[in-house]
């Protein structure tokens, strides 16, 4: 039954764009070339954000709307100004990608007041008119830690990489706190972390000092791929690949290569495909603009990716990963018959 449903859905997916053109679309998408949307970004550096943007671009293109990208390069005040800029440009919808709750709340309200539909990705805006899109950072952390417990048992000594004050990391931290409470046999030997870039290089320097000070550590929880890459460099440099396992979140092509290196300590990562999140963000905004009610938050479910899975399927890039893992390539969220999906 379920299988048949999936096949049916897959058929809709492939036929989707062709069907949608024929179908009557709700306003304003009956004349999509006159619609413009903006994505106002807090952070853009790094593969995750690049892939997210690719998803946004792909879905916007499928819809046939004009897309404007405003990037504040981690300047919270500038990001708020950019929302005003988008209002002034007369866009019809805005996606707010990351940012600080405090600086975005008022700016987002101004956009709502100007009659613009707004959705937010990975930033807590706390406004009933603004649906939140989340990649469930809590779930991301939880899945990785479950895998760590499955591999290493309930008793291990952990090193934890964390920089407080960054919303996704804070939510992943909540999963870590709950996991520690549920597993009294797990000791947290050290907490460290930095966002000095290149992040992997700076984290590697720290991780080496941490391992040296705490030789008992056998598991690292590094819930961000740049953190994990740094810890892996340190572990390799100290020749401890056999004794230490790394569990992380997020994934990129170079992470896949790093996980598949012979003797790599990087055991598993949990990721939501950022491209899919980008697509979902645009679809949610489109549904909102078409007047549908959105159940907030819109959660894009994460996927567990283990070293063994990568090895068994000879996966060497994000593209082959999407191929071998359909649940990674598409999320069954924020869909409508009239909404065309990006071509694959």
């Amino acid at each position: 039954m379920l299988n048949r449903l999936a096949i049916g859905l897959a058929a809709t997916l492939t036929l989707g764009p062709a069907l949608a053109v024929a179908q009557e679309r709700p306003a304003p998408f009956d004349a999509p070339e006159e619609v413009s949307i903006a994505v106002v970004r807090y952070i853009s550096t790094g593969d995750f954000f690049q892939a997210y943007l690719a998803g946004v671009e792909a879905q916007a293109e499928a819809l046939g709307v004009e897309l404007r990208v405003l990037d504040s390069r981690q300047d919270a005040a500038l990001q708020a100004d950019m929302v005003d800029q988008a209002i002034a440009l007369g866009v019809d919808g805005i996606i707010i990608q990351h940012g600080l709750s405090e600086s975005m709340q008022e700016a987002a309200q101004r956009a709502i007041d100007a009659g613009i539909d707004v959705v937010a990705f990975d930033v807590e805006i706390d406004n009933p008119a603004i649906p939140q899109i989340e990649q469930s950072n809590y779930l991301l952390g939880e899945l990785a830690l479950e895998q760590a417990a499955a591999d290493n048992g309930d008793d291990f000594t952990a090193g934890y990489v964390y920089v407080p004050g960054i919303a996704p990391l804070d939510q992943r931290n909540a999963a870590w706190e709950d996991f520690k409470a549920a597993h009294p046999g797990v000791t947290e030997a050290a907490v460290f972390g930095t966002l000095d870039n290149p992040i992997a290089n700076a984290v590697a320097n720290q991780a080496r000092a941490v391992i040296q000070a705490n030789p008992a550590i056998d598991v690292f929880f590094a819930p961000y791929n740049e953190f994990a890459a740094g810890v892996k460099i340190a572990v390799d440099e100290m020749g401890l690949g056999e004794d230490i396992s790394i569990y992380s979140a997020d994934i990129s092509t170079s992470d896949i290569a790093a996980m598949r290196e012979p003797g790599s300590p990087w055991a598993a990562t949990v990721a939501t495909n950022p491209t899919v999140v980008g697509e979902v963000s645009v679809r949610t905004l489109a549904l909102l603009m078409a007047g549908e009610t959105i159940e907030s938050p819109v959660i894009v479910p994460p996927t567990l990716i283990t070293q063994d899975f990568l090895d068994d399927n000879a996966i060497d890039s994000m593209a082959t990963l999407s191929e071998k893992m359909p649940q990674f390539a598409h999320a069954e969220v924020a869909l409508a018959d009239w909404l065309p999906l990006p071509a694959r």
């Binding site: 290149p198 080496r208 000070a213 740049e226 890459a229 170079s254 896949i256």
Partner: protein
């Protein structure tokens, strides 16, 4: 019996000369006692490795400081070199030596352009190199549309990149030479020490170095003794560009991936190391030995604090405090020493 005034003056002179090195020794002693595992040869090598890349960049900055200039573009040169190395191996599928040669060439070229902007177009050094910094941060992302570079990545034309980081290239970042203990000293540390030695000799003991210091102190007077001031200034920026490119190559070899990064932290850390170097041995001016010591000082501090589980923001605070204290040594104490000898 010396007069109390003379004793105070001698004490001050001693503090200016050896104060910072004593602080360094004190720090090592403290961490050895407080952080188990700090005092062993591997730990020492780790400290060296963690400062090798910023140290190399700092040595480049030092040469530009010597001629009275400043190079803000080194961080961006390093990350551009990282991207260029990755691009030439992964996308263009070139061997390691081509990648390294391209990076060094790029560094020299950027230095040449910086130098020409400053010498010929008379743009103030800070502004010219700031412009170059932004230019490079953008430029390094253009070939890959802002993506990091990795084997298997999708290229603009839909192909996937087939090349990979060659073993010879990774050797630069990961090989360790035996020294008493097996597999002890990593290649970047050796390169750092060699560059430090070369720049120390060049600046301190050759006539070219002496003329560069003279240019930094009084460029007009140096021109009037027949020194090609413009050429020396350009040379300083080219040295800075090449060392930054070397730093980028080592970074790429260590990371094994072409990650997008602005390199701003590399810039700030290396400038801090060079400025801390002013205080070493009471030099009160840029010098290669001081720079190496400055980099080491920051490295030891960060290693020790990490081992003691200090959070990252306290580390930034301490880095800043060290810099301020070093600048105080240099400018305040030295100025107090100055006038008492004249009148």
């Amino acid at each position: 019996m010396a007069e109390p005034g003379a004793f105070r003056a001698r004490l001050l002179a001693f503090a200016i000369r050896y104060g910072f090195l004593l602080l360094l020794v004190g720090l090592v002693l403290y961490f050895s006692l407080a952080a188990p595992g700090f005092a062993n040869p591997r730990s020492a090598v780790f400290v060296l490795q963690s400062v090798a890349i910023t140290g190399i960049l700092a040595l480049g900055v030092t040469t530009t400081l010597v001629v009275g200039g400043f190079d803000l573009s080194i961080g961006a040169v390093a990350t551009s070199s990282l991207m260029l190395a990755a691009y030439s191996m992964v996308v263009l599928e070139q061997p390691a030596y081509v990648a390294v040669a391209l990076c060094l060439l790029m560094g020299a070229l950027v230095g040449l352009i910086n130098g020409l902007l400053i010498v010929k177009c008379r743009i103030p050094d800070l502004l010219a190199t700031l412009g170059m910094m932004f230019l490079l941060i953008g430029l390094q992302r253009i070939p890959t549309q802002g993506n990091s570079i990795a084997t298997g990545m999708t290229l603009a034309d839909g192909e996937t990149a087939q090349g990979s980081f060659s073993a010879a290239f990774l050797w630069l970042g990961r090989h360790r030479f035996d020294l008493v203990i097996e597999r002890l000293v990593p290649v970047p540390v050796v390169i750092f020490l060699l560059i430090a030695l070369a720049i120390w000799l060049f600046l301190g003991f050759t006539r070219h170095g002496r003329l560069m210091y003279a240019i930094g102190s009084n460029a007009r007077a140096t021109a009037l003794v027949g020194a090609p001031v413009a050429r020396y200034k350009i040379a300083a920026y080219m040295i800075s560009g090449v060392t930054a490119a070397i730093g980028g190559v080592l970074l790429a070899a260590r990371l094994g991936r072409g990650d997008i990064a602005s390199g701003n932290n590399l810039l700030l850390d290396s400038v801090a190391a060079a400025l801390i170097g002013f205080a070493v041995l009471g030099a009160a001016r840029p010098n290669a030995f001081g720079t190496a010591m400055g980099a080491l000082f920051v490295g030891i501090l960060l290693q020790g604090m990490t081992m003691l589980n200090a959070p990252y923001y306290t580390q930034d605070f301490v880095k800043g405090a060290v810099l301020v204290i070093a600048l105080m040594f240099t400018f305040y104490l030295s100025s107090r020493r100055g006038p008492s000898m004249r009148h």
